[in-house]
Structure formats: C-alpha cells, structure tokens
Amino acid sequence: MIHFQNVDKWFHSSLHVLRDICLEVQKGEVVVVCGPSGSGKSTLIRTVNGLEPVQKGEVWVAGQNVADKKTDLNALRAEVGFVFQQFNLYPHLRVIDNITLAPRLVRKTPTVEANRHATELLERVGLADKAQNFPSQLSGGQQQRVAIARALAMKPKVMLFDEPTSALDPEMIGEVLKVIQDLAKSGLTMMVVTHEMGFAKEVADRVIFMDKGAIVETAKPEDFFSQPKSDRAQLFLKQVLNPMH
C-alpha cells in the first residue's frame, strides 16, 4: 500500500534528513515509527502525501508514484488521511464544517449527506454533542478527536499520524489513543509516529526505529521493546522509559 524505494531527502541541499529509506507497508498493516527528536519521523510520513518532496528514490501510495507529474496529487491526498501533532483544525469553522469541508469540495458530497456522515463520525469519537462548537471551545483531546473524524470523513485508504498525543495534557492522551486503537483494529492501513509504548504493543504490526534519517531497526513490537538489537534503540528506549536518567 505504501512503498518507499531508496528515498533520500535533504533540506536546503545540505541537511540530509532521510537516508536511503526502503520500506513496504502492507494493506491493513499498522506501523509505528519511533526515534529521537530530529531523526526524520515527521519528514518520513510527510513524504507519503507529498507535503515534503524527496530528492532521490520514489514513494508509492496505492499504486501511484507521489512525485510523478501524471499523478493527481490532490486526488491521492484525498485517499490519505493526515492527523497532525497540533490538530490544525480550521478555527473559523464549526466542528461539523471542519469535518464536511473536504467531502463537500473534493468528493462533491451533498451537504445533507456530508452532515449525516460527519455526525456518525462524531458519535464514533464520542463528540456528538460538539458539532456546533468552534474548535477554540474544545479541549486539546477533543480537538484531536475532531481532527481524526475530519480525516476519516474522506474515507481514506491510508491514515498517517504525526505524534497525535504529544501536544496533549496527560489526562487526555487515553481518549485519543482509544480512538486510534479502534481504527487500527478496523483494518485501515496506518503509519503512526508515537512514543506511546503501550499503544504500540497493543496495535502495531511492526515498529520502525529511526535515527539520523535512517531506519535503524524494524521489529515486531514485543521484540523491539523487550530486546532492541541496536545500541541506539537501547539507549533511546532507556531514555523514553526513564526520562530522569
């Protein structure tokens, strides 16, 4: 479903942020990406929907080369949901309109139908009563659940999450992880950047550990967390699990 073939990326032609990335994500697979800050995790998933162009190699999604001039990038992005660390809801639109905007504009879904689907999605993320609120009236956890509903409204084939819980107060992390967990079990193809171990163990089919722009280790979650092979992954896990030391 997602295929990285020898991908290299530089920022400002000197900062090498992705190094020879090769990775295949199968349909229905859930891949968790972790690694130290600045290791290129966000950049990696942002290449999947073309938010970041790559300078070498190819990224393929659902049989289409993201960088190909013949690929309709807008149509491809419609199939790929993206959830940001900072939610990025549209502050001038009500919750319901945040969710229906893209279906109405891109899929040409009639408003009534779009509203009905949005209401369903809001129920699914436990926010049916917030449809008429503005984003600024919601807590961080609620905003992130709206953002997930907004992505799902396009009925995407792939969902990408960039640290969906790291901007949240601790007491709100659970409610958002729960929603993502349910999605993972529903058979959606997902790439999730996160350091939430419990979540990774529960739903990930694979964990990918990145450092300095390269994929250093790929493993089943139970193996990765109990016996990481590389020194860098061991060091990283020690820091994540015991931040004080």
């Binding site: 929907n49 807008n74 992005r77 949901g81 940001f84 990025n88 549209y90 502050p91 893209a102 396009m154």
Partner: protein, 237 residues
C-alpha cells in the same frame, strides 16, 4: 488674514449647499464603488501573487509594480484618455451612451490603483495565518484555490479589516483627483462654488471639514469594531 471675516451664509444655504451635498454624495459613491471593486480585484491579485505557477506570480508582480509606482493622477488621465483607444468599439459606444464616462474612468483608475495596496494588505493577512492551515487543507485533497477560498482568505480577511478601512479613507481622499477629468465630486463642487462666488476660502474650508468629518466618523466606527468585536473574540480564542 487674522481679521478675515468668514461669510458662511452664502455657501451654507440654497443652491451652493446643494452643490456641496451632491459633491459629497458623489465622493461617497466613487469611494464605495471603487472600494468594493478593488477589494475583489485585490483578492485576485493577492492569490495570483501567492500562486505556485511562476507566470501567474510574475504577472501579479508586474501589475503591482506598475500600479504602485506611477502617480494616481497619471493613471486617471491614462484611463480617461486611453480607454477609447484600448477598449473595443462596442464598449466605447456603451460607455458614451451611459453619460457616465468620467465617473466610470475615475472608478476604473481608483479601483486599479487601490487594488494594488489592498492586495498587499491581504498578503500580509495571509502571512499571519499559520502554514499548518494550508497543510491541513492540502492533506485532505483540496486544491490551492480551494484552500485559499475556504480556509486561508476567510481568516486572513478578518485580520485585514483595519487596513482595509484605511484604504477606504485613502480612497475617499484620493477620489478628489477625479475632479481633473470633470467628475463633480466634493472638491470639484467646492471649486465651482469658488468660481461662482469668489468665496474660495469658505468653499474649501467647508470641503476640508467634510473630508475631516467623514474620516473621523469612519475611524470612530473602526474603533468601536475593534473594541466590541475584535477584542472580545481575541480574548475568547
């Protein structure tokens, strides 16, 4: 000069008062029509200037440079004398038939001139919107124009309202140049009164006061908008 005796009686009564009022009316009409048109033209230019296509961007740049770097008076003469030569014959016939040719030429010049400044105001409004908003829009499959129309501009224009009011004030003042091509707006009428009555000082003092009051009223409304609408919203967000 200090002992000058103002003679208001003549000017503030009867026919001449009527002239001043009709001048004020035309000034307001000129400024309002030009404002509305230049807002939409400014939006288009701003979006072109931010487009991903190099040629579209270059076109907008040329427009902005030419319009902002030539005197408004020259632009008014340009459209007044030039539109006959530039526009298709059918349009010219229609323009003549309306009997409003001067007004239309002045509106065109003021609209084009002001649109360049409005485009820059809108662009600074857009720059104040976090780029993540654009990314969120693109990520859900929207095109550049859709992102602009539905996500960025609605937020940017709200921030652009104070500078837009400023542009309206500028327009009201700049519209006085339309007298040079015979549009009977406020300054033109003051001039007419002067030539009829030789009370030029009174006539232009009256015109000055009218411009001043107009500006103060609009600035006052702006203050109210800032206090009552913008500030409470900001506090809530």
């Amino acid at each position: 000069m200090l002992n000058y005796q103002f003679d208001w009686h003549l000017i503030l009564n009867g026919e001449y008062r009527q002239w001043l009022l009709s001048g004020l009316w035309l000034t307001l009409k000129l400024a309002t029509v030009s404002m509305i048109l230049s807002f939409f033209l400014g939006l288009i230019i701003a979006v072109m200037k931010m487009s991903g296509q190099r040629f579209v961007r270059a076109g907008a740049s040329v427009y902005l440079e030419v319009v902002r770097n030539t005197p408004l008076l020259v632009q008014i003469f340009f459209w007044y004398f030039g539109s006959f030569k530039l526009l298709p014959a059918a349009w010219n016939e229609w323009l003549n038939a309306t009997n409003e040719f001067e007004f239309i030429a002045a509106t065109m010049a003021l609209t084009i001139y002001t649109s360049a400044f409005i485009a820059e105001d809108i662009r600074s409004g857009v720059r104040a919107i976090p780029k993540e908003q654009t990314e969120a829009g693109f990520s859900s499959g929207l095109s550049f124009l859709q992102v602009m129309r539905w996500i960025i501009l609605p937020q940017a224009v709200r921030m652009t309202i104070p500078p837009l009011v400023n542009q309206f004030l500028n327009l009201a003042k700049n519209s006085s140049l339309a007298m040079t091509i015979g549009v009977a707006e406020l300054t033109y009428q003051a001039r007419q009164i002067e030539s009829h009555t030789l009370k030029g000082f009174e006539a232009f003092t009256a015109a000055t006061l009218i411009y001043l009051i107009l500006s103060l009223v609009i600035t006052g409304l702006m203050e109210i908008y800032n206090e009552k609408i913008l500030k409470p919203r900001g506090a809530q967000a």
